[in-house]
Amino acid sequence: MGYGLSFGWLKDAAGAIAHGAAMTVFLIACTTVLGILISILFAAARRSRYGVLRKAVAVYVEVIRNTPFLVQLFFIFFGLPSLGIRLDPIVAAILAMTLNMAAYTTEIVGAGLDAVPKGQSEAAFALGLKPRQVFVKIILPQALKVIFPALTSQVIIMMLESAVVSQIAVRELAHEADLLQARTFRSFETYFVVTLIYLGLSMAVRRLFVAGGRRVLGAGVS
């Protein structure tokens, strides 16, 4: 066979890999913040008085959930310019990731909102809080506490799926791996190392969310 594994290239590649990992973390951080904000809005819209709004959110959720993320990404990055919307790869990646994640988290946030007993908002109204205060201060924190584990899993799934944005040349972890293996001809070793880094990242993100959730929400997370 005569093929030996070699990791000698790793020393020179550490900088590029770290840079790529930082980009991946940046992408998922933006996506998490934007995605959760949007899904709170959409979950509220799904429960609004306006039938059109409810329908629109439902259609959006179904379309995103039943098509591959990679196709959505290509549609946004390659398809939208023919409508005159030209996006930078990083912006396109964040847009695609946010739209994708929000479709899943809208359902999750919605389930959380439904799980808060009606008496909570009635009590808050009785105390004289305004509708917005009731939502932001009473309902939302309790809902987030319930759904925190599911939200954490969704963030990790999205981070792993973000590897495909390497296909539109965003220089994140997977793309750095593509570049490295083209230079070193050590394809297997390169992807092996990068896969382990992804594994480490997903464990770190879970740890971070568990610790953060416990501190901020007092959630007893898995």
């Binding site: 066979m1 093929y3 179904e62 379309v63 959930r65 039943n66 098509t67 591959p68 993320f69 990679l70 196709v71 959505q72 290509f74 549609f75 390659f78 398809g79 939208l80 310019p81 023919s82 409508l83 990790i156 792993l160 799926e161 973000s162 590897a163 495909v164 390497s166 296909q167 997977a174 791996a177 293996q181 394809s187 297997f188 992807y191 092996f192 990068v194 896969t195 992804y198 594994l199 997903s202 464990m203």
Partner: protein, 215 residues
């Protein structure tokens, strides 16, 4: 240069989607077979096997599918296999599916009351018979909505195999797009085809879920 009408594009895409369907079917069947073995390890009485099972699941659920596919594509030739995109895609998705299916079924096995095992044992069944005759049929039944839901995820995941060069729907679309420069139409149609493949299954999964919830 060849001129592509809308119908040419559509016909080619529909024709290519049979590979998407075939790959999904192969990966689901293979994943079910391997997943069964992983499940057996995961719920085994031997601690080392349980460790292996949970490690396997954590590894495949904690790394990107794209990286798994690359490792298959570049790793298998090192073991002396002749590698083609089709084999790498089918094997990669099989292992990926096996981890998820094993985890889904494990949830079903653990949801069953302890008495089911005891009842099996009191009938004089040994462990394998207990699993085959008592535990697994029930575990499969209660996790069917989740398994169908995962099939949808698997169908969507086949799009990634275009990156390692397997000629399925999305790769064909890329080629057509390079010839026609009509990305909006081409990728829009790809999305529609995937939607038509996935949406009925999503609805079916929901229907099953309602049924199990009603019982």
């Amino acid at each position: 240069m060849i001129e592509f009408t809308f119908w040419d594009i559509l016909r080619n895409l529909i024709f290519a989607s049979r590979w998407t369907v075939l790959l999904s079917a192969v990966a689901f069947a293979g994943g079910a077979a391997v997943g069964l073995a992983i499940l057996a390890a995961r719920i085994s009485e031997r601690r080392s096997l349980r460790r292996f099972g949970s490690g396997y699941i954590a590894l495949f659920q904690g790394t990107p599918l794209l990286m798994q596919l690359f490792l298959m594509f570049f790793g298998l030739p090192m073991l002396g296999f002749r590698i083609e995109p089709w084999t790498a895609a089918a094997l990669g998705l099989t292992f990926y599916a096996s981890a998820y299916l094993a985890e889904i079924w494990r949830g079903g096995v653990e949801a069953l009351p302890r008495g089911q095992w005891d009842a099996g044992a009191s009938l004089g069944l040994h462990r394998l018979q207990e699993l085959r005759l008592v535990i697994l049929p029930q575990a499969f039944a209660i996790t069917r909505p989740a398994a169908v839901g995962f099939l949808v995820q698997l169908i969507k995941s086949t799009a990634l195999t275009s990156i390692i060069g397997f000629e399925e729907l999305l790769r064909t679309a890329n080629a057509i797009n390079n010839a026609t420069f009509e990305p909006f139409t081409v990728y829009g149609l790809v999305a529609v085809i995937f939607f038509l493949l996935c949406y009925p299954l999503t609805q079916y999964s929901r229907m099953l879920e309602r049924k199990t919830a009603a019982h």
